[in-house]
C-alpha cells in the first residue's frame, strides 16, 4: 500500500497478451508514464475507481516471460513483485493477464506469480479469439487447479471487463491466505509438466487445427518474395510520409516559431534578455520542436506495426541480413528511425533484449544520416555540384545526396560489425521472439503509445536542448564587444545624415550584417573556431567553417545559419538559401584571395557532416539509454575521428588526384 493509503494493483503478463488493452480498459486513457529509477524501463500507472467508491492505483508492468530476472524488464517485474523496487510498494493485488489462445506458455509466468502468495486474479484475455479457434477453456477447473480466481476478458471491448472489475474488488477485500512457495530453482521442465496437467484438465483443443486468417496473412507477409516486396513497400511508404508529408506541419511550426521570435522581439526590451529568449530559448527549442511531426509519425507507425503484429514479421524477414553485421532483426527499425532522428531511433532499441546487441545498435544509430543533415547536403550540393544530368535522367546533385546516404549506411553497418566482433562480442540471450497472431489495430492503444513516446522525446530532448542552447547562445554572444557596437552605431548615425529612403535601408542592413559578423568573430565561439583552424586546415576548412562546426555542435542545422551570418547573408525569411549559395560560391579567403569553398571542400564538408556526432539531443539520449557517460563520450569520439578521417581522405585524396 502506498503511504497515502491508496492500494496498488499490478498488471503482469507475457508480451502480446493484450495487457495494455486491459490496462487502458481499467484506467481509461488517464495514466502517467515515467521510468523506474536508474533503468530505461517504462513505468505506466493509472487509477481505477471501484464500485464501492475506493480508488486504487493500477500499474502496468513490462511484458515478460519469466520471473527469473535476466533483462532490465524482468528485473523490474521481479523487484516490484518481491517488494524490493524503489518507489513502488508491494502490490496488494496482482492481475496476471494471460492470452486464452496461448495458455500453456502464459501459465509459466502465471504459476510463478501464483506461488508468490500475493492476492492474485488471472484474466484470461482475448477470450473471443480463442473461441474462434475452437478452444474450450473450463474456467472453474483452471481456478481449482491453480488456486487463483479466473475471469474471461476481452480487453478490446470495454463491456467485456466487468467480470475482472468484480474479481479485483472481491480479492482486494480478502486477506492474503496463501503462503509464498515460489522456488526459483524449479527447472522449466518440471514447471511445464505441472502446466501440462493443468491444461490437459481445463482446456479442450479442437480436433483439427483451424487455418486462421493469421496463417493466411503470414503466407504472404513472410513469403520469400512477397514478404520482402511488402516490406520494401511499407518502408517506402513510411519514408515518404516522414520526408514529404511531415514537411507541411514542420513548416507551420517553423513559421510559428519565427512569428513567436518576432513577437518576442517586439515585446521584450532590447538587450541581453531579449537576445537570450529569442536566439537562445526560442531558437534552440524551435530546433527540436520542428522535428515533432516527423517523430510523431514515426512513433505512430512503430506503434501501429507493434499493435497489429507486423513488427514481428518484419524482424523475422530481416534478421538474416542484420545478422551479417552482427546485429539482429530488431535493430532494423531503430536504425531506420534514425534516418529521421537519432533520438527516437535510440529509444526504439529498447525492444532489443540482448545487452551487446542493443549497445551496438545504439552506438551506430547516430551514424545514420538523420534529417537534420539533409539541409546541409542540399545546400552544399546546390552550391557546388553542377546541375548536370547523367545520361539525361540522373541528376548529379541527386547522386551526391544518394552517395552521402550510402556512405552513412555502409559505414554504420561496418562499424556495427567491428564493434560486435571486438568489444561487444557474443550474446547473453538467444535471439528468439514470438510471432503473435495478427490483430486489428486498436486506435486507442496505438495513439496512446504514440503520444507517450512523443512526450518522452519532447521532455528528454527538449530539456537538454533548452539548457545547452543557452550555453551555446552564451558562447556565440559573449564576450560583449562595446567597441564594435559603438563603432557601428556611429556609422549608422553617419549614414543617416547622408542617405535616405531605399539606399539608406540597404546601407543600414549592410551595417547590421557587418556588426553581427564582427560580433561572432570576436565571440567565444568565433575564438574557438579560430583556435581549431590548425586542426581543420588539413581538411580544407578555414576558420569560418570552424565557427560553423563549433556552433553546430548543438544541432547540425546551425551550420547553415552560422555560415549565413559569417557570409553576411540575410538570415531570416525568403531568399536566404539562394543568397547563401551565391555567397558561398563567391567567398574568397582574406589572406590568399582564393575561393574558400571549392567543390572538393564542399564534398569534404558533406562527408564530415555524415560522420560527425553533432547534436546535443543525441548526447542526452545516449547518456540516458546506455546509462553511462563513458559510452556517450566514446560515441562522440569515434564519430568525430571518423569525420576528421573521412574529410581528410576526401580532401587530400582529391588534391592528389588533381581536383581543386
Amino acid at each position: 500500500m502506498t503511504p497515502g493509503g491508496v492500494r496498488e494493483v499490478a498488471l503482469v503478463g507475457n508480451p502480446n497478451t493484450g495487457k495494455t488493452t486491459i490496462f487502458n480498459a481499467l484506467t481509461g486513457l488517464r495514466h502517467t508514464t515515467a521510468n523506474y529509477p536508474g533503468v530505461t524501463v517504462e513505468r505506466r500507472a493509472g487509477s481505477l475507481k471501484l464500485k464501492n467508491g475506493e480508488t486504487v492505483s493500477v500499474i502496468d508492468l513490462p511484458g515478460v516471460y519469466s520471473l527469473l530476472p535476466r533483462s532490465p524488464d524482468e528485473q523490474v517485474v521481479h523487484d516490484v513483485l518481491f517488494g524490493t523496487q524503489k518507489g513502488t510498494p508491494l502490490p496488494d493485488l496482482v492481475v496476471v493477464v494471460l492470452a486464452a489462445n496461448n495458455l500453456e506458455r502464459n501459465l509459466y509466468l502465471a504459476t510463478q506469480v501464483a506461488e508468490l502468495g500475493l492476492p492474485a486474479v488471472f484474466a484470461i484475455n482475448m477470450w473471443d479469439a480463442a473461441r474462434e479457434q475452437g478452444l474450450e477453456i473450463d474456467l472453474d477447473r483452471l481456478q481449482m487447479m491453480t488456486g487463483i480466481p479466473c475471469v474471461a476478458t476481452v480487453g478490446t471491448d470495454k463491456k467485456r471487463v466487468p467480470g475482472l472489475l468484480e474479481a479485483v474488488e472481491r480479492e482486494l477485500g480478502r486477506a492474503a491466505t496463501r503462503r509464498r512457495t515460489f522456488d526459483p530453482a524449479v527447472a522449466p521442465e518440471v514447471r511445464y509438466k505441472m502446466i501440462e496437467n493443468i491444461v490437459a484438465a481445463a482446456v479442450r483443443h479442437p480436433e483439427e487445427e483451424r487455418r486462421t486468417v493469421s496463417d493466411r496473412i503470414d503466407r504472404v507477409l513472410t513469403h520469400r518474395v512477397w514478404g520482402l516486396l511488402v516490406f520494401v513497400g511499407v518502408m517506402a511508404f513510411v519514408f515518404q510520409s516522414i520526408f514529404s508529408w511531415a514537411r507541411i506541419p514542420m513548416e507551420w511550426i517553423s513559421h510559428g516559431m519565427e512569428h513567436l521570435a518576432l513577437f518576442a522581439r517586439v515585446v521584450l526590451p532590447d538587450g541581453a534578455l531579449e537576445s537570450l529568449i529569442v536566439d537562445g530559448v526560442i531558437g534552440g527549442v524551435g530546433n527540436v520542436v520542428v522535428f515533432l511531426p516527423q517523430i510523431m509519425l514515426l512513433f505512430f507507425f512503430i506503434s501501429f506495426f507493434e499493435d497489429t503484429g507486423y513488427m514481428a514479421r518484419a524482424v523475422f524477414v530481416l534478421d538474416r541480413i542484420m545478422k551479417m553485421v552482427g546485429l539482429n532483426g530488431k535493430a532494423f527499425l531503430p536504425l531506420l528511425s534514425s534516418f529521421a532522428c537519432t533520438v527516437p531511433g535510440v529509444l526504439a532499441t529498447r525492444t532489443i533484449e540482448d545487452r551487446n546487441d542493443r549497445l551496438a545498435t545504439i552506438l551506430v544509430a547516430p551514424l545514420m544520416s538523420c534529417s537534420a543533415r539533409l539541409p546541409i547536403y542540399t545546400l552544399l550540393a546546390a552550391a557546388f555540384v553542377p546541375p548536370a544530368m547523367l545520361f539525361h535522367v540522373i541528376s548529379l546533385q541527386g547522386l551526391t545526396l544518394l552517395a552521402m546516404y550510402l556512405l552513412s549506411i555502409g559505414t554504420g553497418l561496418g562499424v556495427a560489425a567491428i564493434f560486435r566482433k571486438t568489444f561487444l562480442k557474443g550474446n547473453r540471450m538467444p535471439f528468439v521472439f514470438e510471432l503473435p497472431p495478427y490483430r486489428m489495430p486498436q486506435p486507442k492503444t496505438v495513439l496512446s503509445a504514440m503520444w507517450d513516446r512523443s512526450k518522452e522525446f519532447i521532455v528528454r530532448a527538449g530539456s537538454i536542448i533548452f539548457l545547452l542552447s543557452i550555453v551555446l547562445w552564451f558562447l556565440v554572444s559573449y564576450p560583449k564587444q562595446p567597441g564594435i557596437e559603438a563603432r557601428m552605431q556611429a556609422e549608422r548615425a553617419a549614414v543617416r545624415t547622408v542617405l535616405a529612403g531605399g539606399p539608406l535601408e540597404a546601407r543600414l542592413e549592410e551595417i547590421d550584417h557587418a556588426e553581427r559578423d564582427a560580433k561572432i568573430r570576436a565571440s567565444f565561439a568565433g575564438r574557438l573556431g579560430r583556435a581549431i583552424e590548425p586542426l581543420i586546415r588539413p581538411l580544407g576548412f578555414n576558420w569560418e567553417i570552424g565557427i560553423g562546426i563549433v556552433a553546430s555542435f548543438a544541432a547540425r542545422e546551425l551550420l547553415i545559419s552560422t555560415l549565413a551570418i559569417v557570409h553576411h547573408v540575410k538570415t531570416e525569411g525568403e531568399g536566404m538559401t539562394e543568397g547563401l549559395i551565391r555567397a558561398l560560391q563567391s567567398a574568397r579567403s582574406q589572406d590568399t584571395g582564393k575561393p574558400v569553398y571549392t567543390p572538393l571542400v564542399a564534398v569534404a564538408l558533406m562527408v564530415f557532416y555524415v560522420f560527425a556526432c553533432q547534436c546535443f539531443s543525441t548526447y542526452a539520449v545516449l547518456k540516458r539509454e546506455t546509462g553511462s557517460w563513458g559510452w556517450t563520450f566514446f560515441t562522440i569520439f569515434y564519430m568525430t575521428a571518423l569525420a576528421w578521417g573521412g574529410a581528410f581522405i576526401v580532401y587530400q585524396g582529391g588534391r592528389l588526384l588533381g581536383f581543386q
Binding site: Y65, E104, H223, R224, P430, V432, P436
Partner: protein, 95 residues
C-alpha cells in the same frame, strides 16, 4: 538430429540440449523442454531464422540456436511442404 535440419512442415519431439549454456534457459522457459512437440512452420526468406509452432504459439528461432536442440522426428506430425528453408536444405527430406 538437431532441430535446425527439420524442414518446414516437419515435426519433432525435443530430446534435450546438446550443450549446456546459460542462454538456453530462456529457450526452456519459452517451452522448448524435453518431450515437447515442435513443428517447423516456415523459414525466413534467406533460410534463417525459422518459425516454430510450439505449445500452440509461434516462435522465431535462429538456426544457430536450434542447432543446440536435439530432436527425434515426430512421425505423427503431418508432413506437408510449405516454402523452402534455403536451397541447401531443400533436398534433405530423406535425412
Amino acid at each position: 538430429m538437431t532441430l535446425d535440419v527439420l524442414l518446414p512442415g516437419e515435426g519433432g519431439i525435443i530430446e534435450g540440449y546438446s550443450e549446456s549454456k546459460e542462454l538456453h534457459h530462456r529457450l526452456k522457459e519459452l517451452g522448448l523442454v524435453e518431450g515437447t512437440r515442435v513443428r517447423v512452420r516456415r523459414c525466413a526468406p534467406w533460410g534463417d531464422p525459422m518459425e516454430l509452432s510450439v505449445r500452440g504459439y509461434h516462435l522465431s528461432i535462429r538456426k544457430e540456436d536450434a542447432k543446440c536442440i536435439r530432436v527425434r522426428r515426430d512421425e505423427d506430425a503431418p508432413a506437408s511442404r510449405q516454402c523452402g528453408c534455403g536451397k541447401k536444405h531443400r533436398y534433405r527430406g530423406g535425412l
